[in-house]
């Protein structure tokens, strides 16, 4: 059984990746000339001063998709052990369990579909 220490190449790669990105940034700060105008550090918005910042309660219309996603992502992971131990031509019981599992998942999508989550209507005010 591979203990956690067996995964040390992954950690080495992690550290090397961070170093691999920091190095060019360091070089760039050293050899790049600099200019400062009075509008240089303003946020860019097509050349005019923006009206207010961008950190607002951004109403992401698709948060419902995230809810369905969480339910799905967890369930799909349970299928992995079944996939690994799936015997060919063996007892049919495994196929029934797979079928039931997927049917339940499909129910979630059909329910969301019926609820009209997937249709984006045009918001007409006035």
């Amino acid at each position: 059984m591979k203990t956690l220490s067996e995964f040390y190449p992954v950690f080495i790669f992690l550290i090397v990746a961070i170093v691999f990105t920091l190095a060019p940034l360091l070089i760039a700060t050293l050899i790049a000339p600099g200019t400062r105008g009075n509008k240089t550090l303003n946020t860019y918005e097509c050349g005019v001063d923006p009206f207010g910042g961008a950190w607002i309660r951004y109403s992401a219309v698709y948060y419902i998709y995230a809810l369905i996603f969480i339910a799905f992502d967890v369930d799909v992971l349970y299928l992995f052990p079944l996939a690994v131990s799936y015997t060919r031509g063996g007892n049919v019981y495994e196929f029934y369990s797979l079928f039931v599992f997927i049917a339940v998942l499909a129910l979630a999508v059909i329910y969301a579909w019926g609820k009209g989550v997937f249709t984006w209507k045009r918001k007409i005010l006035s």
Binding site: E45, C46, G47, V48, P50, F51, G52, A54, I56, R57, Y58, S59, A60, V61, W120, R122, K123, I124, L125
Partner: protein
């Protein structure tokens, strides 16, 4: 039509005008008091507001309203006189909603105050301007007017923000700025800010002679510069009653149609660039360069042509122009199926443009838009058929028309128009008569008689009108350009309201706007 107007409104004097000289059928002298009643009358009769401009005669200001009918041609000029010191007039934006754009423009340039106008802020100019530019004598902007004109900063809300689809943006095709009020991905309101490319064409016209003003129309709309050149030249010919020989009329038709194809191909590339596909832009430019070479042969320039003269052309058409045009027409017929396969059959393109940005047919009269935007809704309204000019009278061609006015229909109308133009060119090439290409005795210093004239030409974007007022000197007293992109842009806030950003960008692209044409 004339009788029921006379019977309907009693206390204004109505004068019949002869269409060939003046360009309009009826001239009505209304007064400030009964203006709204006259406008209401035209609205019930199904007229649309073609243009609204102001002319500054020394001792009074005159507001000129042009009304016209989509179904049958009947242009009416209604004028009211205002006192020059504190000019004010009733607004007609509650009857014709899009009139408020014209009124804002007149307020900026002439200082005419419009009672209970929704929003009189700056549209073209900016607060650095201290006098009303188009007034004949210098009239400084008064203090309370400055406050009225200053630009309101949208206040900050909790969950919506206003984004500048600003002057420098990949898909505004130039320097159009639209302030979008966004709620997440949805657009709550969009209001354009113009004037980033206002180059004072109308002010220049007032201190340049008719011949000196010839290169300017080409800079107004650089993709259809021959059509603009033709509008200017034809308006002056109508004013001075110059007869243009047959051959010049035919050559004008051929070159304007070539220019129309080049403009539509450019639009196709730019529009698909907005939707994300970049390759059609380069394929389109392949054909466009072909046209530019042909036109460069006779006009001498690639983009801003100045080829027409009063009464004819700059130089005659030689025969390798004729062969090159025939070769181009033959090659273009083979290229169109390729566009069909590359673009129209693309399922992502169809999903992006079908049932998006629908302009209802009854709303079109409200906006007075023209060109492919109006033909997309199913109304066959094309100046080449409604008011034939140049040699379009004896050309038979049918006008492509869409059904429900969404972006796909506007796209289809423009592609069919390329085919119609190809047919017109090949027909005109066959019937090109020999003979002189210039009218004989056109005086060098052109001094048109006193009076005004209105001439309309069909530019690739729509109905382009020139209204010239002359006072017998060799410079026009006032020249007003009614440009199609300006009235097409007025439909954008209505169409973009409530859609996603991607749809709004596609709608903006489908209107085919040229910014210097709007800003003049």
């Amino acid at each position: 039509m004339l009788e029921d107007i006379k019977s309907e409104i009693t206390d204004i004097n109505v004068a019949e005008a002869s269409y060939p000289e003046r360009g309009y059928h009826l001239a009505i002298e209304a007064r400030k008091e009964n203006l709204l009643r006259v406008i209401k009358f035209f609205d019930d009769k199904g007229f649309y507001l073609e243009d609204l401009c102001c002319v500054d005669y020394a001792d009074y200001l005159e507001l000129v309203y042009f009304f016209n009918n989509h179904t049958e041609l009947f242009r009416i000029k209604t004028t009211i006189k205002l006192t020059p010191d504190k000019p004010s007039a009733p607004t007609i934006s509650n009857i014709y909603t899009m009139a408020h754009w014209y009124e804002r423009e007149i307020h900026e340039f002439f200082g005419v105050y419009f009672e209970n106008h929704p929003n009189l802020t700056y549209l073209f100019l900016h607060d650095g301007i201290d006098s009303y530019p188009l007034r004949k004598n210098r009239v400084p902007v008064s203090e309370d007017d400055k406050r009225l004109l200053s630009f309101p900063i949208p206040h900050e809300e909790e969950d919506t923000f206003s984004v500048n689809l600003g002057p420098q943006h990949p898909s505004t095709h130039g320097v159009l700025r639209v302030i979008l009020k966004l709620d997440g991905e949805y657009i709550l309101s969009a209001d354009p800010v113009l004037g980033y490319l206002h180059r004072m064409h109308e002010k220049m016209a007032e201190n340049r002679s008719y011949a000196q003003f010839l290169p300017n129309p080409a800079r107004m709309d650089y993709l259809a510069s021959l059509n603009f050149n033709l509008a200017h030249v034809a308006a002056v010919e109508r004013l001075c009653a110059i007869a243009v020989p047959e051959r010049a009329q035919y050559v004008r038709t051929i070159t304007c149609e070539l220019n129309r194809i080049a403009s539509h191909i450019f639009w196709l590339g730019a529009f698909l660039g907005d939707l994300g596909g970049l390759t059609p832009f380069l394929y389109g430019f392949d054909d466009r360069e072909n046209i530019l070479d042909i036109l460069e042969g006779i006009t001498g320039s690639r983009l801003t042509y100045c080829y027409f003269r009063f009464g004819g052309l700059y130089n005659d058409v030689d025969d390798n122009f004729m062969d090159a045009t025939r070769a181009f027409v033959k090659r273009m017929w083979k290229r169109l199926p390729m566009y069909e396969k590359l673009v129209t059959k693309n399922v992502i393109f169809i999903n992006r443009v079908e049932d998006v940005g629908i302009l209802e047919r009854d709303k079109v009269r409200r906006f007075g838009c023209s060109g492919p935007v109006i033909r997309g809704t199913g109304m066959p309204f094309d100046m080449r058929k409604v008011e034939p000019y140049a040699a379009y009278g004896d050309m038979d061609f049918e006008i492509p028309v869409g059904e429900n006015g969404d972006i796909l229909d506007r796209y289809m109308v423009r592609m069919r128009e390329i085919e119609t133009s190809l047919r017109i060119i090949s027909a005109a090439l066959e019937k090109l008569p020999a003979g002189p290409f210039n009218a004989e005795k056109v005086p060098k210093k052109l001094k048109p008689p006193k009076g005004d004239a209105y001439h309309v030409v069909e530019s690739p974007r729509g109905q382009l009108g020139v209204y010239i007022v002359s006072d017998e000197s060799d410079t026009p007293y006032r020249m007003r350009w009614r440009v199609p992109s300006y009235s097409n842009l007025m439909t954008f806030p209505h169409l973009a309201q409530g859609t996603l950003i991607a749809d709004a960008i596609a709608i903006l692209g489908s209107l085919d706007l040229i910014i210097p044409e709007i800003d003049r």
